[in-house]
Subunit: 126 residues, 2 copies
Amino acid sequence: MNIFIDYRSRVPIYEQIKKEIILAVSRGELKPEEQLPSLRALSAELSVNINTIKRSFSELEDEGIIYSVAGKGSFISDRAELDSYVEASLRSFSEAVKNAKKLGVDKEELATIIFNIYGDGSDKND
Amino acid sequence: MNIFIDYRSRVPIYEQIKKEIILAVSRGELKPEEQLPSLRALSAELSVNINTIKRSFSELEDEGIIYSVAGKGSFISDRAELDSYVEASLRSFSEAVKNAKKLGVDKEELATIIFNIYGDGSDKND
DNA sequence: TAACTGTGCTATCACAGATATTACAGTTAT
DNA sequence: ATAACTGTAATATCTGTGATAGCACAGTTA
């Protein structure tokens, strides 16, 4: 599943897992109806307690990203809507911009950072 | 001191206080050698325990923003360097940009947000 | 001396995250 | 039916952190 947990982060593990899955769906790596690893398998793979995995999955289910069936497994939802995550991302982006502005950062500096991360228009990543 | 605490926020109170003071210094509202409210005064004004205020001040002192003298009070440091805070702000900005990119947000959309927050070049705030 | 300052320490409480364990119920293949 | 998987649920425990309360002590100032 290519999920990396940063134990030093203040972000809870269950949220890190949620985010990784959401991003995988966003990238198209996880497609609708595709089966996720079982709770116990992911628990073993990540060395994270099954209850923590369960929490991630339960919240993702509440948010309509996945659905789970007892006895079968967990699957990517047919129409996994990511709009709310994009909105949340834009909100935190806005907060970051406001904070930088308050600290006197020039807007051109922010533009440059975006330019560097997105690339010059070609297909470079990260 | 014009410090507003959001008790619903997940950001600890002592960090909110730190941030407010740092931003006040950044805005020039708090000038070098200017005295801060006493621990007990701020504690009473904000209805926050003195230990919590103390933690904010201690960390700010560790970070070179303020200095405290027993019996006298706490003061803005002579050369309060905010560079590390600007760097931290830019780091979190970068994270926000990367996250938005991963979610497929167009870079022009981010540029628009910056444009709206910074204004069109005139002097509007927030 | 009195009234302020900051400092230090201990103790307590509440909450959240994470873990461990056990048990139960649904699905699938043999 | 059985075995081996799935998810679900509940309880208990441990831990770290944030926040509070209270006390004592030391430096400063008028």
